[in-house]
Amino acid sequence: MAVTTETTVMNNVEAVRTTLYEALKNDSRTLIMGEDVGPRGNVFLITKGFLDEFGPQRVLDTPLAEASIVGIAVGMAMEGLRPIAEIQFADFIFPAFNQIVGEAAKTRYRSNGDFTCPLVIRTPYGGGVRGSLSHSISVEALFYHVPGLKIVAPSTPADMKGLLNAAIDDPDPVLYLEHKKTYRLIKGEVPGGHYTIPIGKAAVRREGHQLTVVSYGLNVHQALEAANQLEADEALKVEVIDLRSIRPMDKQTILASVRKTRKLMIIHEDNKFGGIGAEISAMVAEEALFDLDAPICRLCGPDVPPMGYALPLEEEFMISTERMKQRMREMVKF
């Protein structure tokens, strides 16, 4: 592998892989740690070959113990390294909850700035890959309430790189979420060299004046497809915002769009009750209530554990592009 300075078309796996590679290349304080990141190169082959190039100290196969993967990374970060820790699947992040919420997110605060915790935790999340109850979960809403913890969930290869670089450069802990169904599905141009996309900035992926759709991760791509079809077939103009960062979230972009379209729809695969959409909706109900011409709509995963293994169960859980189109149409027509 080599660091490239040219724009290249790649998928999300390759974007993450390239960025990690460059981070290891450019900064001797960085290291990658997690289960099976070494010879196997991570279960999605994201770190394949890294061990040979950077050695076992910097590409560290850990014991099977998530609390320690994060906790040890916290200690490294407090002591000046720049660990990039991996949780093999988001479903297995729960044992590390204490270290993320109770320790990493509070290190700077409780020491009043004496210690800092520049730590990235990467983990693949989301369903639609026959991952069943144990390899499909979305975890963003279990963490987004936590003061001091940044969370990003990029959807395109260029954002994957820019936000991963931003996360690695960030002096505070960042939870970096990779929707595993986008890994090989989503391709796009990725600039060469080091660049960052600021954490906390959304992207308007598509302009429109009849409805604002806010989403992130896999659903962004479906929402764009739905909006494109609605424009082509029915001349409806739907604006689609890709949140990119879950915390901090981009209030200005959402409000500006909602004030223009006067209608808001939030789409996420994660369960509805208490999900990210709740906070977005509440923020708008607080700041732009009288700008709205329709009730705020949340199109989300149902409130059951994500997601049954049998195909019909998974299909029932995931939000289809068709369902998106239907709700968008209803919202525009409201």
Partner: protein, 347 residues
């Protein structure tokens, strides 16, 4: 009954003659279990290659541990807390073969409703507890259930909890072991040490040569056995079981075995271990080894073996076909059985 000769990990505990005799019938049953496990395993990988199922986990190399433990498990009395590699153990403990295939095909008739990955079996009526996929998450459940047995003075019952050597690194493993030790609970821990956790070898997992060494920190006996020898396994589990029911507390049994296949159908073990390593263990393959021993000791004839293999294949074929013909669960099943009654986030 003399033990099956073993070149594999000669184990001190198993070196002595077993204390628990096995009848010819039991020995044959163990052998059939092992054959069944291997055949089911192969079928899973086959169905995956055929594109009929998206996922399967094999357990080749674990047949002796699982058949031996299953024989020691007392049906209708004991509680089993298996992990995802224990399809053979579940079958040897009373889980119907056809239901394994319901699970593999995620059919509506699966006892878990086709909700979980294959190999995550559940069957309360058989004493087989549900495993979540979260490694070591079931350890404390086994301990809690063992507490319940003791609490209710059900003296002739034990919990049997299995796990891989990788699981021993988890904090929850430690907490479960510690509590079981403090309370001297009626529980038998069986570590199926196959030397690998996906691509992570034992030496990156722990600083000790034997998992059994860890028992001492919990005031518990640690026993090492040859996990390719079903008789040694049966003997060790039965001994631990007897100790547990007589109030002697828990035991940690380490059965040294090997994982012959990739971790699951999603893995490719050639990326992290050598063919030579795998082959060096293959020569001790517990299934043909036990077969040889049974024939040598006149417990089965070569003809018996052939008949048995045929019968097992017939069973597996029938189960495959029958399960495949079953329907998936309905989409509406996504919303049931979350809590008693309907689950409404808003009431």
């Amino acid at each position: 009954m003399a033990k099956a000769p073993s070149a594999h990990a000669p184990a001190p505990a198993a070196a002595a003659a077993p204390h628990h005799e096995l009848s010819k019938e039991q020995l044959r049953a163990i052998f059939r279990s092992m054959l069944l496990q291997r055949t089911v395993d192969n079928r899973g990988f086959q169905l995956n290659r055929q594109g009929k199922i998206p996922f399967a986990a094999g357990s080749e190399g674990h047949e002796a541990v699982q058949a031996g433990t299953g024989m020691a498990f007392q049906r209708g009395r004991d509680l089993l807390f298996p992990y995802y590699r224990d399809v053979g153990l579940c079958m040897a403990s009373g889980f119907p073969t056809i239901e394994v295939f319901y699970s593999l095909f995620a059919r509506a008739k699966d006892n878990g409703g086709g909700r979980q990955f294959p190999s995550h079996l559940t069957k309360k009526s058989a004493g087989i507890y549900s495993f979540s996929s979260i490694i070591a998450g079931h350890m404390t459940h086994a301990v809690g259930a063992a507490y319940a047995l003791k609490y209710r003075n059900e003296h002739d019952r034990v919990a049997i909890c299995t796990f891989g050597e990788g699981a021993t690194s988890e904090g929850e493993w430690h907490e479960a072991m510690n509590f079981a030790g403090v309370q001297r609970l009626p529980i038998v821990f069986v570590c199926e040490n196959n030397q690998w956790a996906i691509s992570t070898p034992q030496e990156k997992q722990m600083a000790v040569k034997d998992v059994a060494i860890k028992a001492a920190g919990y005031g518990m006996e640690g026993v090492i056995i040859d996990g390719f020898d079903p008789i040694a396994v049966y003997d060790a589990v039965t001994t631990a079981r007897e100790k547990a029911v007589s109030g002697g507390g828990p035991t940690l049994i380490e059965a040294k075995c090997y994982r012959f296949l990739s971790h699951t159908t999603d893995d490719d073990d050639r990326t992290y271990r050598s063919k030579e390593e795998v082959e060096s263990h293959r020569k001790d393959d517990p299934v043909p080894r036990f077969e040889r021993w049974l024939v040598e000791h006149g417990i089965v004839s070569p003809a018996d073996v052939e008949a048995l293999k045929k019968d097992v294949l017939r069973e597996v074929n029938e189960c495959t076909d029958a399960a495949e013909a079953e329907p998936y669960p309905q989409a509406s099943e996504l919303y049931t059985n979350l809590v008693e009654g309907a689950w409404e986030p808003w009431q």
